[in-house]
Symmetry: C2
Subunit: 84 residues, 2 copies
C-alpha cells in the first residue's frame, strides 16, 4: 500500500485571511515575536497501489480534478510506503 | 528570522469527516484505489527570534494556548531558518 501526502498551500500573493487572524490572535496573547502566519493543508491518501510512479500520476490527477484550486493553490506530492 | 512549522492532525481514533468526504468524492470520480483519506493542517509561523530552542518552546506554548485542541489534536513542531 502507498500513501500520497499532498501539501496544498496558497500561491504567493494570495491573501491568507486565516493566517492573518491567527497572527492577530497570537499577538493579542502576547506572542509579540510573531510576524506572519501562513496556513496550508495536508491531505494524506492511502492507495491500493504498489507502483510509486503510477501513484504519483494518480495523485496529480486528483489534485487537478478535485483537491486543489488552480487559481489560488499550489501543491506538492510525496509518495511513501505504508504497512497494511 | 526563524519559521516554526507546526503540523496539527487529528488523534488516532478521532473521526475525520472531511477526510471521509474527500475519499467518497474521489471514489465517485473513479479513483477506486483510494482506501482512506486523512486531513491535517500546517501552520507556519514566522518569528522574530534567532534562538532555535526558544522558538520551539514558544511554538509549543502557542499550540497549547491557541492552535491545537488537546482533546482531538496532536501536533509536531519543526524549526527552520529563513532569510529576511
Amino acid at each position: 500500500m502507498l500513501k500520497a501526502k499532498i501539501e496544498i498551500r496558497l500561491k504567493k500573493g494570495v491573501v491568507d485571511p486565516e493566517g492573518k487572524n491567527i497572527a492577530k490572535a497570537l499577538n493579542l496573547l502576547h506572542f509579540k515575536e510573531v510576524k506572519e502566519v501562513k496556513v496550508a493543508k495536508i491531505i494524506e491518501i492511502f492507495l491500493e497501489e504498489n507502483d510509486v510512479e503510477k501513484a504519483r500520476e494518480r495523485a496529480e490527477e486528483m489534485c487537478k480534478k478535485l483537491l486543489a484550486n488552480p487559481v489560488i493553490n499550489e501543491y506538492s506530492i510525496s509518495i511513501e510506503y505504508v504497512h497494511g
